[in-house]
């Protein structure tokens, strides 16, 4: 496989974007990415679109050609396909594009991720998210997507003494980071009291432990390193990529306090990159709930199993800490349009590694890791990027 780099990134503002349609969001993010790369549309060899549930949320499938068409590139007849892995759809699409370019099948590919959540009412959002779980053996009996993460939180607190306050600190930190990101859905700074006093969703997880589902799209342009250097002055190298799956139902896993898919996807990405956790200067992790970030920093190898809560409490994961986690604000503050999240994470890595992240810039960032999870952890994607 040949080396591949990111040469352009784009992202819409995330939020309740009532006035914008799915296809407008796709076009807006894609245009920004292609402009950032500085290439004409005809240079693109293929597109990949990550989306969790457009068929349910807006009644639209067949998103591959939709993206090409909306970009005004239907005349190129380029190949384009939609990739689905629940809320890891963005990470999954990125990996598929990476494999295609690394293999030599394509030289330049655009990967988009998008979701339009707010065209349906809250209840339908809940039902849609539950489709990432096992419909017949979890959701049928009343399990919701938050309830699965809540059971992981309960067990993590039971086994390792992780505290409610430590979980709240994840949300507080990510909102602080998000307040420095003009594209984040939620720019407000919050305190632990806000989290601990917010309505209960699924005990022990409250509303402010949960990432909100919003509208948004993100896109990146990737190319083989040779082409990348020719087209763009600031390519960011994709050093490692790993993906893994696990049982669809949470109850069939060996452990409720780790995501084996994350651990194994990370091992694969580190191996490909020839790097270890300590070589990362920052990470964008999948904090769909506060407990998810605590477990992620353990499963990605940054701290030992069971010590994630303490690490958050120590300030290690803050912007000025040893390993800033979610400098973008994460899913919590940036907002979580399921299909777009994995691509938005890659965009943040690129901004950080180019040194253009502004107020939330991680000082001395040479390498960063992106971690995207599908559902309760049946899919995980880990990517490691390095500035050149």
């Amino acid at each position: 496989m040949r080396p591949v780099a990111v040469i352009g990134v784009g992202m819409t503002k995330f939020g309740e974007l009532w006035e914008k349609s799915f296809r407008q969001l796709v076009a807006e993010a894609g245009l920004e990415a292609v402009r950032d790369a500085g290439i004409p549309g005809e240079k693109i060899d293929a597109m990949y679109v990550g989306s969790m549930s457009a068929g349910r949320l807006i009644g639209q499938e067949h998103l591959g050609p939709l993206a090409v068409d909306e970009a005004g590139l239907a005349h190129t007849h380029m190949p384009s396909v939609r990739v689905e892995a629940a809320d890891a759809s963005g990470g999954a699409a990125f990996r598929q594009a990476l494999l295609a370019v690394a293999s030599g099948a394509h030289d330049v590919a655009v990967v988009g991720g998008a979701e339009k959540m707010t065209d349906v009412i809250d209840q339908e959002q809940i039902n849609t998210l539950a489709t990432a779980a096992d419909q017949e053996w979890e959701a049928f009996f009343g399990a919701t997507y938050p309830s699965l993460w809540a059971m992981m939180a309960q067990k993590h607190m039971h086994d390792y003494g992780t505290t409610r306050e430590q979980l709240a600190m994840v949300a507080v930190k990510n909102h602080l980071h998000g307040s420095m990101n003009s594209k984040a859905a939620y720019g407000s700074v919050i305190d632990a009291k806000t989290v601990l006093g917010s309505p209960m969703v699924s005990d022990p997880l409250r509303l402010f432990d949960s990432a909100s589902n919003v509208d948004g799209a993100a896109a990146v342009v990737i190319a083989d390193l040779e082409t990348a250097k020719r087209l763009n002055p600031h390519p960011v190298l994709i050093k490692g990529s790993g993906s893994a799956t696990d049982t669809l139902a949470l109850h069939d896993r060996h452990s409720l306090t780790e995501l084996a898919a994350t651990r194994i996807a990370a091992e694969r990405a580190y191996k490909m990159a020839g790097l270890k956790p300590a070589d990362m200067q920052f990470a964008e992790v999948h904090d769909c709930f506060t407990i998810a970030e605590v477990m992620a920093i353990e499963d990605l190898g940054f701290v030992k199993k069971g010590e994630g809560g303490k690490a958050v409490e120590s300030g290690m994961t803050g912007l000025k800490g040893k390993l800033p986690v979610n400098p973008s604000g994460g899913l919590k503050a940036r907002g979580h349009p399921p299909g777009a999240t994995g691509i938005a994470q890659i965009a943040e890595l690129v901004w950080q590694l180019r040194g253009t992240a502004g107020q939330r810039q991680v000082q001395g960032a040479k390498r960063g890791l992106a971690h995207n999870v599908g559902g309760s952890g049946a899919s995980a994607y880990v990517h490691i990027l390095e500035g050149l």
Binding site: F141, A143, T144, S147, M151, S202, D203
Partner: protein
Amino acid sequence: MTQGPRFWRSIDQRYNLEGVKCGNCGQAIFPARTLCPTCRHLSVGKLAPFQMSGAGTVESFTVVHSPPNGFELQAPYVMAIVKLAEGPKLTAQIVDVDNADMRVGMPVHKVFRRINQDGEGGVIHYGYKFSARPVRGQGAKGQAPMPVEGPRGSHRSPGAPGRLG
């Protein structure tokens, strides 16, 4: 709304906690699968129906305050991951308990209950929940502690399916 057959196919499993046992490795499996995940092709033709006793313990739990469609009237309710005495784990509601009394490791046993309803006047779905109420006169080892508990109260309607354990 989903068509009926999708639910009929699962009746033995959801009503009676019937799984399968692998004739190759002896592992109890719930819900029934096409292949034993340990033996895979070696298990073809060797998976025999197997009745779980219904006894289990709580591995972890949560109280759902924000319910999906069809569960609005039940919230807040307890969901748990239950490890069955025979080994398999499953996700189910816990009943007959004060939510505040829930504990990891708590013993529970299977009961038969109404799960939800597909909208107003829609199909009523039945299946297992797990009760935390202590069992009186527990049976001999390996037997179901409470093999049959029929639908109660308003659930005992003429429309209720008749296939109880």
